[in-house]
């Protein structure tokens, strides 16, 4: 982590590092994106695993990544609202991103993480993912429309080497999951 090479591969090599480092990683990447984005048209994503497939979340929306912690379930809410956690004095809702995207749900594992977002209107929210992979830096040309037409939350994909990563439209996810 110390050399912080600004290339996708360099960051991807940190794949198996301790998760606490991901927070720093995300933050550093967010900082860099702020400095350079306007010159190079680069976009950065946090890639994570959901039901065995790679998904990408815009890095600048990610505030931090935390391990699983005690969840308090909230009655009278749909299943995708897993519950609430406390985070340094804040009480934050955690959504199961897999359920939100209509993906199959498996048990929580060692790599399960909560991606904490700063939402646009100032309310923090958490998304449960099966695991966090890396930060993917790419330019606009690698982004293409999604091959699927009926999934509102994933309208674009991003080429990463041979692999296609689905880009999650966070606003769509958050706005379509507001009703208790």
């Amino acid at each position: 982590m110390s050399e912080a090479t600004p290339s996708t591969n360099g960051l991807a090599a940190d794949h198996e590092r301790e998760p606490e480092n991901w927070e720093a990683l995300a933050r550093r990447a967010a900082r860099r994106s702020g400095e350079e984005a306007d010159q190079q048209e680069l976009v950065e994503f946090l890639t994570c695993d959901l039901a065995g497939a790679p998904y990408a979340l815009p890095v600048d929306r990610v505030r931090e990544i935390v391990r699983m912690r005690p969840l308090t379930s909230v009655p009278r809410t749909p299943d995708w609202l897993l519950g609430v956690i406390t985070l340094r004095g804040e009480v934050v809702q955690v959504l199961d991103l897999r359920m939100c995207l209509g993906l199959p749900v498996s048990d929580l594992g060692r790599r399960t993480r909560i991606v904490v977002l700063h939402a646009e209107d100032g309310e923090v929210s958490g998304l449960l993912v099966d695991g966090v992979r890396s930060v993917l830096r790419t330019d606009e040309s690698a982004i293409c429309a999604s091959s699927l037409t009926d999934v509102g939350a994933v309208s674009e994909m991003c080429r990463n080497g041979d692999e296609f990563v689905s880009i999650v439209d966070l606003d769509h996810v958050l706005e379509s999951h507001t009703d208790a």
Partner: protein, 686 residues
């Protein structure tokens, strides 16, 4: 949501600008309202200090808006300043058509503030539009330039030192025939500000201070000499008697002659003071003094402090637990007792700290009342109705956040009252009521709650009409038996009040459901009482603060919940056998009274696991209403900082927020008012 989004993106400087500008606008409104009422009560004569204060507010706003680059606001403030300068110089009369536009400018400014620093195209258009109207109004208003300047028998060097405004005031006072005197006195250097303000206040009791001028040189060391040019209704010697200050002289500058002047002596014409050297910048003196000793604090900082205090309270709980463990172990009993003693001290100091922080957050309701009276004034004009508005209990204090959230519901209630409840004058006359409608807003503190009553003497709400509409819109079945009071509470139902024809006939406007949801979100309650033809009373009951509450921890289905203790009347152990059923509802015989019951496990879809002793009933009380909530077990009592639950799901009925307790993570806090309401409503519907 759009507004919130904008707000969160504001920088600290912008937030400070907004809060300062809001304060200035509020002050401006208060001054203008004061002027309006002075004009109506008196003979068109108003207190020049109030006009001047309004002018200064506009001036400050202009500077402030210019500093942060809010061009639209700066333009508005600039024109405001012009008009108010005109008023204080008597170029613009208080009856000028420009004055209602001044109100509109202030309303627009307030709106602009709410939407942040950036002004959109439509904002710019609206600014241009209102300013164009101002131009028209100013051209229409009669400019009175016929008043001749009176000949003043005053030393020219003194006249030269007066500002244009002071000169104008001097002229006005001479025209009114008041006595002009020059009050000279010495003050200690260390305390001259206080001395001056006392002296000025004393003079203002019988007139006005036209100008305050320091006169250097003439005073002994460590003292300052001042000359105050006073225009009073009493003559110089009487003025001197009233001024209980050492070393003070009063010289006659001009003897009064007007009708309001109490002249009973024939003092010889004293000579005008020998050319007193005067400092030209002295006119700024007033404004220098007006710096208050209060500090403006961002509410968010107070929230952070509150959170810290809350966390300390939680730590204190852990310390208590450790002390308790130690005292119960023979080996560590002594040290445990010592720790328990220290804990007691900590507890005491912490309570003081808590109270201190809470007090800082408290603000008087007066601010809201001022906003209400502004809204009412505008509505009166728009609707052509006459309403006497009476406010009582403006000193009643509430948490700043609650006060903010109260503005909308209260404005709504006042608007409803004027628009729908108060009848037109002819109708009132026919009904034998005074033609001017009466609305009163009365606030008072009762224990941990503040009660606000909004009363009107309008047409009242006809329960039978409400019932008819509720049945027609499918809210209740035709055979449902309801008391009049229960029928009235139907106006708070979301499905009820959206129909405009209901508002016409029932005397209530739309949006009562919004009023209720706003108030319950604050942990409060709305109650309605009305008599046809006599009027309506709407009562809001609100907690004093949301920040820290004592909570009762309960458990149901293995999950813990917190219930704010201020709504808990008592707790009972309940045997399943003692629970009675009536019309499908469960109830308990509580000392001869039926207590409706709800099971928390049913409400929240949890599997109840009662302990051996049976269930526990938590008796909840809100206003007049009572209910019992059945839970598996009582855990204990705890201080809780109620936090909002952040995330995309906006509101869950029955849950007011969450609190962090020790290392258990989040514990949900129940919204007592919604449980009580739901229970009462279900009783109605059954």
């Amino acid at each position: 949501m759009a507004a919130r989004r904008k707000r969160s993106k504001q920088t600290k400087a912008q937030r400070e600008f907004v809060s300062e500008a809001e304060e200035i606008l509020d002050r401006l409104c208060t001054d203008l309202a004061e002027l309006q009422s002075q004009r109506e009560e008196g003979d068109g004569d108003v207190d020049p200090d109030v006009v001047n204060s309004a002018f200064r507010s506009a001036h400050s706003l202009k500077g402030l808006a210019g500093m942060v680059g809010h061009d639209a606001m700066a333009e508005l403030a600039h024109r405001l300043e012009d008009v108010l300068d005109g008023v204080r110089m008597s170029r613009v009369g208080l009856d000028s058509p420009a004055l209602p536009i001044v109100d509109q400018i202030i309303a627009l400014s307030t709106e602009l503030l709410a939407s942040g620093i950036e002004s959109s195209g439509s904002d710019v258009e609206r600014v241009a539009e209102v300013l164009a109207r101002l131009d028209v109004a100013l051209t229409d208003s009669p400019v009175d330039e016929s008043k001749p300047e009176p000949e003043l028998d005053i030393d020219p060097s003194m006249l030269a030192a007066l500002t244009e405004y002071e000169e104008h005031r001097l002229g006005e006072n001479v025209r009114k025939g008041r006595h002009l005197s020059l009050v000279e006195t010495n003050f200690e250097l260390a305390s001259f500000e206080e001395g001056l303000s006392e002296l000025s206040t004393a003079i203002r009791e019988v007139g006005e201070v036209v100008s305050t001028l320091p006169s250097p040189g003439a005073a002994p060391e460590s003292q300052l000499r001042f000359s105050l040019l006073a225009a009073t209704t009493v003559a110089a010697d009487q003025l001197l008697e009233r001024l209980d200050f050492p070393d003070t002289t009063v010289r006659i500058v001009l003897e009064g002659s007007g009708p309001d002047v109490v002249s009973e002596q024939e003092a010889g014409r004293a000579e005008v003071s020998e050319s007193v050297p005067l400092a030209p910048e002295a006119s700024d003196f007033e404004s220098l003094k007006s710096v208050s000793d209060s500090v403006r604090v961002d509410i968010r900082k107070l929230d952070e402090l509150m959170t810290l205090v809350g966390e300390l309270v939680i730590v204190r709980g852990s310390v208590a637990a450790i002390a308790n463990r130690l005292t119960h172990d023979g080996a560590t009993q002594r040290i445990g007792a010592e720790l328990a003693k220290v804990h007691k001290q900590l507890d005491r100091k912490l309570k003081e700290l808590q109270t201190g922080v809470l007090e800082v957050r408290m603000v008087p309701l007066r601010q809201v009342f001022q906003k209400l009276s502004r809204v009412a004034r505008r509505l009166e004009r728009d609707l052509g109705k006459r309403v006497e508005l009476d406010f009582v209990g403006g000193d009643t204090e509430l948490d700043k956040l609650i006060v903010e959230e109260l503005v909308d519901p209260l404005v709504h209630l006042i608007r409803n009252a004027i628009d729908h409840a108060i009848e037109p004058a002819d109708e009132r006359h026919a009904a034998g009521k005074p033609e001017v409608g009466a609305i009163s807003v009365v606030a008072s503190q009762r224990g941990n709650h503040v009660v606000i009553e909004i009363r009107d003497d309008g047409r009242g709400i006809d329960a039978s009409v409400v019932r008819q509409h509720a049945e027609a819109s499918g809210l209740i079945a035709a055979e449902t038996v309801l008391s009049d009071k229960e029928v009235l509470s139907l106006v708070f139902e979301p499905g009820f009040s959206t129909r405009s024809e209901v508002s016409e006939t029932s005397g209530r406007g739309v949006g009562m459901d919004v009023v209720r949801s706003n108030v319950t979100r604050l942990g409060g309650m709305v109650d309605l009482d009305s008599r046809v033809g006599r009027g309506t009373v709407t009562t809001l009951t609100l907690p004093i603060t949301l920040a820290i509450v004592q909570a009762l921890l309960v458990e149901t289905g293995g999950q813990r919940f917190a219930i704010p203790l201020n709504s808990v009347l008592e707790t009972l152990l309940v045997d399943e056998a003692s629970i009675q059923r009536s019309e499908g509802r469960e109830l308990l015989n509580l000392r001869g009274e039926p207590l409706p019951l709800r099971r928390l496990s049913d409400e929240f879809g949890l599997e109840s696991v009662p302990s051996e002793g049976g269930l526990c009933a938590v008796v909840l009380g809100l206003g007049e209403l009572r209910m019992g909530l059945l839970v598996d077990a009582l855990i204990g009592q705890q201080d809780a900082v109620i936090k909002p639950i952040q995330g995309p799901v906006r509101q869950v009925r029955g849950i007011a927020g969450a609190t962090e307790i020790g290392d258990e993570g989040a514990v949900l806090v129940l919204d007592v008012s919604s449980f009580v309401e739901d229970t009462v409503r279900r009783k109605d519907a059954a």
